[in-house]
């Protein structure tokens, strides 16, 4: 019992003191995941809109695949990206393995399908209401897709934040391709795993608090944004 209480206290102290090691780990986590989310949104939003609005063969199977890929296990993604980036792999010469860039790549692979699948659903729902009007006004399919992305921007922000939540909280992919190297590729989740197994519970707990807070704050922001948008824009 006392170990747990002590750990909580030390964790609180680490956060309160803004411990340097703690901050660098949190900072790298956010840097990697925010970069990954930005890139995944650039890819996922257009893919989602195109699948929602486009009329091309293979659209239905693609939808099923996208939805299925939302549940990809991070460790498997990590393994595949590892093989791709390892010295013998096709992208080996780039020397990216065990760098933050490798972690960004793995997370982009992980969350692009999430953002694409969620935005496909959102855009497809809007398209059902807007299609006749937009086509009556003479919108081409790409133009309609863009208009829908802009018009559903508040709902789409939820899809992007879902991707961010997933990226910042996953451990398997970044562990494999990053290697959890101290001061280089160590992020919140990999540190928690490592420190727990080492028995350094205070640091693990402190990181755990921060991680949960980040996820909660993200969701609160998403909720507030949607509420505000519904009042302001209908």
């Amino acid at each position: 019992m006392s170990t747990i209480t002590e750990s909580f206290l030390t964790a609180g102290q680490l956060i309160a003191e803004a411990d340097g090691k703690l901050l660098s780990i949190v900072g790298l986590s956010l840097q990697v995941s925010l970069t990954a989310v930005f890139l995944a949104a650039c890819l996922g939003l257009p893919i989602g809109a195109a699948v929602a609005v486009g009329r091309f063969p293979g659209r239905k199977p693609l939808t099923v695949i996208l939805n299925g890929m939302m549940g990809l296990p991070p460790v498997v993604i990590g393994l595949l990206v590892y093989l791709l980036l390892s010295r013998a792999g096709p992208l080996g010469p780039l020397g990216l393995l065990f760098t933050p860039t490798a972690m960004v790549i793995a997370q982009v692979v992980l969350i692009t399908p999430i953002i694409a699948a969620l935005s496909r659903q959102i855009v497809a729902d809007a398209w059902r209401d807007y299609e006749e009007q937009l086509r009556s006004l003479g919108a081409s399919t790409p133009r309609a897709a863009l208009t829908l992305l802009v018009d559903t921007r508040f709902s789409l922000s939820t899809a992007v934040l879902a991707g961010l939540g997933r990226a910042v909280a996953e451990v398997g992919a970044v562990m494999i391709v990053g290697g959890n190297i101290d001061g280089v590729t160590r992020v919140m989740t990999t540190s928690i795993a490592l420190e727990t197994s080492k028995g350094d519970l205070p640091l693990a707990l402190a990181l755990g608090f921060i991680l949960i807070s980040i996820v909660l704050i993200l969701n609160a922001l998403a909720h507030a944004l949607r509420e505000w948008a519904a009042r302001r824009h209908g």
């Binding site: 006749e132 009007q133 006004l137 208009t147 018009d151 948008a229 824009h233 209908g234």
Partner: protein
């Protein structure tokens, strides 16, 4: 002889196994206000969507202006579709899609909102307006395109009487501006007030195309007679 606006030649539309429009031929003249009447599921909306080009006919063809180019046109739906932007931007967006140069868009959008009495709402988000206001924005957006023909699919079906009257007034104003009107409605009073001609559709066929006074005095087709007696017994 009046100028032909649109001529349908043996137009047929099938959806899966079902034939919704059976080899329909029809000629509407320019400058007329035509109301399409008929029971639910008769194919009124499908017919209008074929004319407007939202769906492609399975067979037959549509000829505009006796063989000319497809004229500028617009359509207003039962439930107005407003984008999450201001009223003014909703109108400007339509002008943008129509290829109106950026420099002209704003002035044209403001002018049309002025004419329909919506200037005070120009900068309000369109989707938080009332249903009646949104439908007036939809009419303004359509009118801004300077259409030669305006299609309306039950534009007042979800509106209260006051808002309906305002929409009817605007339709008349747009018609007087030189725009032909093709409208589907279930409201016989509205048909009587707005129409020059009635097209009656039943089970995917046009049973008659008659001037409005003749239609209500003595419909030529048996189906229209049944429809009027059935409808009037409820009104």
């Amino acid at each position: 002889m009046a100028e032909p606006l649109i001529t349908l030649e043996s137009l047929r539309y099938e959806a899966g196994e079902r034939t919704l429009i059976h080899d329909v031929s029809l000629r509407l003249d320019a400058g007329r206000r035509t109301v399409v009447l008929g029971p639910n599921g008769a194919g009124k909306s499908v017919l209008m969507r074929l004319m407007h080009g939202l769906i492609e006919p399975t067979a037959g063809r549509i000829v505009w202006n006796g063989g000319g180019a497809r004229p500028p046109q617009a359509m207003v739906f039962q439930r107005p579709v407003m984008l999450r932007r201001s009223v003014l931007d909703n109108v400007s967006y339509a002008l943008y899609l129509a290829g109106v140069p950026a420099a002209e868009r704003r002035a044209r959008a403001e002018a049309v909102l002025e004419r329909v009495g919506l200037s005070p709402l120009a900068h309000r988000p369109a989707r938080v307006l009332s249903g009646g206001e949104q439908q007036r924005v939809a009419l303004a957006r359509a009118w801004a395109l300077r259409p030669r023909v305006l299609f309306l699919d039950e534009p007042t079906a979800s509106l209260d009487p006051g808002a309906s009257a305002e929409v009817e007034r605007l339709i008349r104003v747009i018609a007087d501006d030189g725009c032909s009107i093709v409208m589907v409605t279930h409201h016989l009073g509205q048909a009587r007030r707005l129409a020059d001609d009635i097209v009656f559709v039943d089970a995917g066929r046009i049973t008659e195309h008659t001037p409005v006074a003749d239609f209500f005095a003595a419909p030529r087709s048996e189906q229209a007679g049944h429809y009027l007696r059935g409808e009037l017994s409820w009104t």
